[in-house]
């Protein structure tokens, strides 16, 4: 009954605060869209210069979406490379193909090399050709699919963290928290009321993001939308409880934003945008105490590998545990404002 009243009040407040509502619902969609265009734009055709290559090889290369410029001799090709007119120079030395890469952009290096590989394929004898098959995604997964699966979870986490943190902080700075605590409301009822009130919007947000990312932006979805939604919701609830907990340690809104580099940014590193296997072991272990690590691990499994409950339940359990711990700590932290 009292929890109900608290939850309804939060819903009313958010509904009336249109900008906050927009930040929570529209901003993630906006950033995801932007991200799609930015990442899709990266697949520019590589520009390759050639010097004295056999005609059939040049033809094979040209068919592979490569911009080709032929040069008279190696010196003029080199000059073009130095002026960054081309990304690579391919020549023959003693009958051996020689590749000189411009080298400053790893992405361009990779696209040149993969184009060359493709062009060389017809020259490999059939019996030496490896047969390539894909366990997941049949080779059409691009970089946005991979990042997108992580970002879907990240944006839920980030915006919910911010809004829940600031709302709970305001409750304290405006004195309404003291007033709530002057009523017979129990401390746990406040935390649960917040969870319910904001939970409604996080559910809305999770649904919107999951639908938009897969339905509109076309991020790969091997698993079910329902699973994406559940994991997104669990992640958002972890963000909600963490945000309200940490707001106890901020004096004003500005100090909430100071948590972004401390709490949010490090989580991105462990969310799978960067290969974890290359990190030192102690650093990898650090990732295991961060909610986003589990959330994005599960989302990646669901969206790219078609995982279901049987695969992602440990991640879901971890997120639930995080939320419970954060909520319990918050109930304890409220003791600062009222002992009973």
């Amino acid at each position: 009954m009292r929890i109900h009243a608290l939850a309804i009040r939060i819903v009313r407040q958010i509904v009336k605060d249109k900008r906050t509502l927009a930040l929570m619902l529209i901003a993630p969609l906006f950033v995801l869209t932007l991200m799609k265009f930015v990442l899709d734009g990266q697949s520019v055709n590589p520009r390759v210069g050639t010097v004295g290559l056999p005609q059939q090889f040049v033809a094979a290369l040209a068919s592979d979406e490569v911009d080709i410029t032929a040069y008279e001799d190696e010196a003029s090709g080199r000059l073009a490379l130095e002026q960054a007119d081309i990304d690579a120079l391919v020549s023959l030395r003693d009958g051996q193909p020689q590749v000189l890469l411009e080298g400053s952009s790893p992405t361009k290096n990779r696209s040149v090399m993969s184009a060359l590989q493709g062009a060389l394929e017809p020259f490999i004898p059939a019996e030496l050709k490896p047969s390539v098959e894909f366990l997941h995604g049949s080779g059409e997964l691009n970089i946005f699919d991979y990042y997108g699966s992580v970002l879907v979870g990240f944006f839920s986490f980030f915006f919910v963290f911010l809004i829940a943190g600031v709302s709970f902080l305001r409750e304290r700075t405006t004195g309404t928290l003291a007033r709530l605590l002057a009523t017979p409301l129990q401390r746990w009822e406040i935390v649960v009321g917040y969870l319910l009130g904001f939970g409604l919007f996080t559910l809305l947000q999770a649904t919107l993001i999951a639908w938009y990312a897969t339905g509109v932006l076309g991020i790969a979805l091997e698993g079910t939308l329902y699973m994406v939604l559940v994991m997104n919701l669990l992640l958002a609830i972890a963000a909600l409880t963490l945000g309200t907990l940490l707001s106890a340690y901020a004096q004003n809104e500005f100090q909430i934003f100071q948590f972004i580099p401390l709490i949010i940014i490090p989580q991105i590193f462990f969310a799978g945008l960067i290969e974890l296997d290359t990190m030192p072991e102690w650093l990898q272990a650090l990732g295991h105490i961060l909610p986003l690590y589990y959330g994005s691990d599960a989302l990646r499994d669901i969206m790219l590998r078609g995982a279901g409950w049987s695969e992602v339940w440990p991640d879901a359990l971890a997120l639930v545990c995080f939320s419970l711990v954060f909520a319990a700590l918050n109930i304890f932290a409220l003791r600062k404002h009222r002992r009973i």
């Binding site: 009292r2 009243a5 407040q13 002057a182 129990q186 009973i340």
Partner: protein, 251 residues
Amino acid sequence: MPLSASEAQESAAPCISVDRVSRSFGKRTVLDQVSLEVGKGEIFGLLGPSGSGKTTLVRLITGLDVPDGGTVKLLGEPMPRLNLLARIGYMAQSDALYGELTAQENLSFFASLYGMKGTRLTKRIQETAELVKLSGDLGKQVALFSGGMKRRLSLAVALMHEPEVLVLDEPTVGIDPVLRKSIWQELDGLRKNGVTIIVTTHVMDEADKCDRLAMIRDGRVIAAGSPDELKSASGSATMEDAFVAYGGGVQ
């Protein structure tokens, strides 16, 4: 005729008793062995300059804080106790309202925390709004309220659940003289209905309107009694002079 303050006091055990209460934050002692008793149906004033410890004392009485030493008893039971909170109405120094919501939504939210609902809730909203002269503004968003209107709404929130004890921290700050007078009349009316009221103030002429009061300075009660007693005992004509005479003035 309602009971006068002294009669009411004799008729029952003290409504609020504060016994040798101390509270410090770090090395700073904010309250030092404060004792006082408030009878049922009394308007009791806590008079003192800002920083004297009034708000800390009020927070101890409402159970928001716990003393380092001594005891606070409310309606015969030691504080803090959750079930007692339902019988207190508390109005803090800050207005503590939700600006995004309307006045009516604020009232109904806080009242529902005390378990009020249905027709009783609607009826009480009308009554209290009438009391603080906000009936015409119930549908307005609180963010658009003037300072005085917010103060009145804040008072209305404290009155919604018809508490037996009303704790008001600086209720008339920022309110114009006409409205201030009407608020004091309301407090008087509540007292006649048996409500015990504790008011903190640093305005000396408001202290005159209390049945009894305690003068507080640097976390100590320097004098307590009815306004007339305090004035005559110190041989002063005004509350202000009395406060200075008891050592409350700037030294």
